[in-house]
Amino acid sequence: MNIDFIIGKYNYWIYIILMMIGFYAMIAKRNLIKKLVGMNIFQTAIILFFVSTGSKRGGATIPIIEGGHGEVDQVINAAHYLNPLPHVLMLTAIVVMVSTFGVALALTIMIYKRYNTLEEDEIL
């Protein structure tokens, strides 16, 4: 595996490392809040992955129809614009993730009220 392979796709490496950090925290941590933080890192890594797949360097434009106002209408060549769809998907996914986090925090409050602790070992 050469160095170009790693540097050329650094965004994917970062997403995988972040995702594994989150995954580790969700599975190995015994404190419920730490698990939730791990869950958030895990989800954020996926957002990063999607957004980075849609990014483009060096003067990318937006997907609109050029011209208008008397000029000849033409659709911008797909190679020149930045694909907005992954970002839009992630807007939806962020909403889903925020609500998951909210439900999970509400559950943590209920757990704390009933057991007076958030350490999994002490609850069980």
Binding site: M26, L32, T53, T100, L107, I111
Partner: protein, 500 residues
């Protein structure tokens, strides 16, 4: 009106969840009738879609009039129109049942919030079933899961929030894996529409990215349907939830997840990919076989009736996946027929468990001795559903198991046929143990004064709104048993991928 039925069966519960919330805050007693009206409307829409699919083939509905692949499209063929009818009917039946049960099991004003979340859960499930867009499936998957997390924790059981919390963590991992699969396919093809993906993917089948995407899909959905060894969240969550919620989620959520698995494997990817490029029969088949045996062994060890049913459910999920992994006509027919049968068997058993809870305030098996005297009709339903899970002929469970065994044998996997028969024997032990307890053992506690007097209850002494759904599901099991030939020839044979 009927041209909009595919979207109405989702929109109606979605919008009424808000209306039911507002109406419930104004007058508490309005929640139940309004929720039932919404569920009935959704069921009628689902039936009308199924009938138009049976008449004229696949129904396509463009949301907002945008043409696919840019817009989101609802595609209903024989497979998902059938599942939509199952999901909406079960949620209506359980909805009728819910009234008295949650009045007893929920405290204070929680009933006001119960019905809106219930409707959101149904919205999510119907959406997963109807949509033809893989990202849309993710969104609906999370709507239904979020509603399920909340419903499981809404009860008064002390352990419910922690069970629900573990479900949140596991469910989120599953959903995120699914989302990653969507992302990988999008990188490769630039589309999210299922039909478009099916067209663009075949030249890319040997790309590693597509293989990874497939793996993420299967594992992600595997968590959501509690396929062994990813099942750890299920027994606690389904045991500690209120009875109504257990009945709804047990009978619908895992089935809808199994539907997503079938859809991804055989529509988004072609059957040839799922059987030849990926050695699915050997991987998923063995996992499913392990699930069938593990579920039965664990069920045998339980003392709590609801927890026992939860483990039986894990075994049932194993059966469905076993049928899918056989990847031939008989196996697939068995899997789809078992989705229907298992939805009704699980609904009947969990509803009966709820009735026992209502009556005895406990679902310990040891407390159920002699219960046939107090609740003859409910216990008769338990017997029907129980022998259907075992697979005794006139009941529906026999026919789907027949197809599953046939599918395994035709695929040349005699070992999986043996597993099916072995786990049927195990379920026989499980349910005959319960039946013996109910019919032949004395009730616990002080023995009533002897006098030879018949002390049968005139009827089961539980509200009619609870008894009727139990009897309807039990009758359903018998009716589907007698009608299984019709169901297979009218609906399921068209749902099996072409060419098998």
């Amino acid at each position: 009106m009927s041209s909009h039925a595919p979207v109405l069966m989702i929109i109606v519960p979605l919008i009424s969840s808000l209306i039911v919330l507002l109406a419930g805050l104004w007058r508490k007693r309005l929640s139940y009738p309004l929720a039932l009206a919404a569920l009935s409307a959704s069921t009628i829409a689902a039936f009308s879609v199924l009938f138009s699919v049976m008449d004229a083939g696949t129904v396509r509905y463009r949301l907002g009039g945008w043409a696919p692949p840019w817009g989101i499209e609802y595609v209903l063929d024989h497979l998902n129109a059938f599942i939509a009818v199952i999901v909406s009917s079960i949620s209506l039946i359980v909805g009728v049942y819910s009234r008295k049960s949650i009045e007893q099991e929920l405290s204070g004003d929680k009933i006001i919030y119960f019905y809106p979340i219930y409707l959101l859960l149904v919205t999510g499930l119907m959406g997963i079933v109807a949509t033809g867009d893989i990202f849309n499936v993710y969104v609906f998957l999370e709507i239904s899961s979020l509603a399920a997390y909340a419903l499981i924790a809404i009860g008064n059981d002390k352990r419910a929030p922690l069970s629900s919390f573990n479900y949140v963590v596991m469910g989120t991992i599953g959903a995120c894996f699914y989302l990653l699969g969507v992302g990988y396919l999008y990188i490769m093809t630039g589309t999210l529409n299922m039909a478009d993906l099916a067209r663009l993917l075949p030249p890319l089948y040997h790309s590693k990215v597509v293989l990874v995407a497939f793996a993420f899909f299967v594992v992600g959905v595997g968590v959501k349907i509690a396929l062994f060894p990813l099942h750890a969240w299920l027994p606690n969550a389904y045991t500690h939830a209120p009875s109504t919620v257990s009945a709804l989620v047990a009978s619908t959520m895992t089935k809808v997840g199994a539907y997503v698995m079938i859809r991804i494997m055989f529509t988004v990817f072609q059957p040839s990919f799922s059987t030849e490029v990926v050695p699915m029969a050997s991987i998923l088949g063995w996992i499913a076989a392990a699930a069938a045996i593990f579920g039965c062994v664990m069920a045998l060890a339980q003392t709590d009736f609801k927890r026992m049913l939860a483990y039986v459910l894990i075994a049932e999920v194993g059966y469905i996946v076993l049928g899918v992994s056989a990847a031939n006509r008989a196996g697939m027919t068995g899997a789809i027929l078992h989705i229907l049968n298992d939805a009704f068997m699980m609904a009947c058993l969990f509803l009966a468990a709820g009735a026992v809870m209502y009556k005895l305030k406990s679902v310990e098996i040891s407390d159920m001795g002699g219960l046939y005297k107090k609740m003859p009709l409910t216990m008769a339903s338990v017997v029907i559903a129980g022998i259907s899970v075992v697979g005794v002929p006139p009941t529906a469970g026999f026919f789907s198991k027949w197809y599953l065994v046939l599918g395994s044998l035709q695929a040349g996997n005699w070992q999986f046929a043996a597993v099916l028969l072995f786990s049927s024997l195990m379920t026989a032990i499980i349910f005959f143990r319960i039946i013996e307890r109910i019919y032949f053992m004395p009730a616990p506690g002080p023995v009533p004064a002897a006098g030879g007097q018949r002390n049968w209850a005139p009827l089961d002494d539980i509200p009619a709104s609870m008894l009727a759904p139990i009897l309807v599901t039990a009758a359903g099991i018998l009716v589907f048993g007698f009608m299984s030939g019709t169901i297979v020839s009218r609906v399921i044979q068209y749902a099996v991928p072409a060419g098998w």
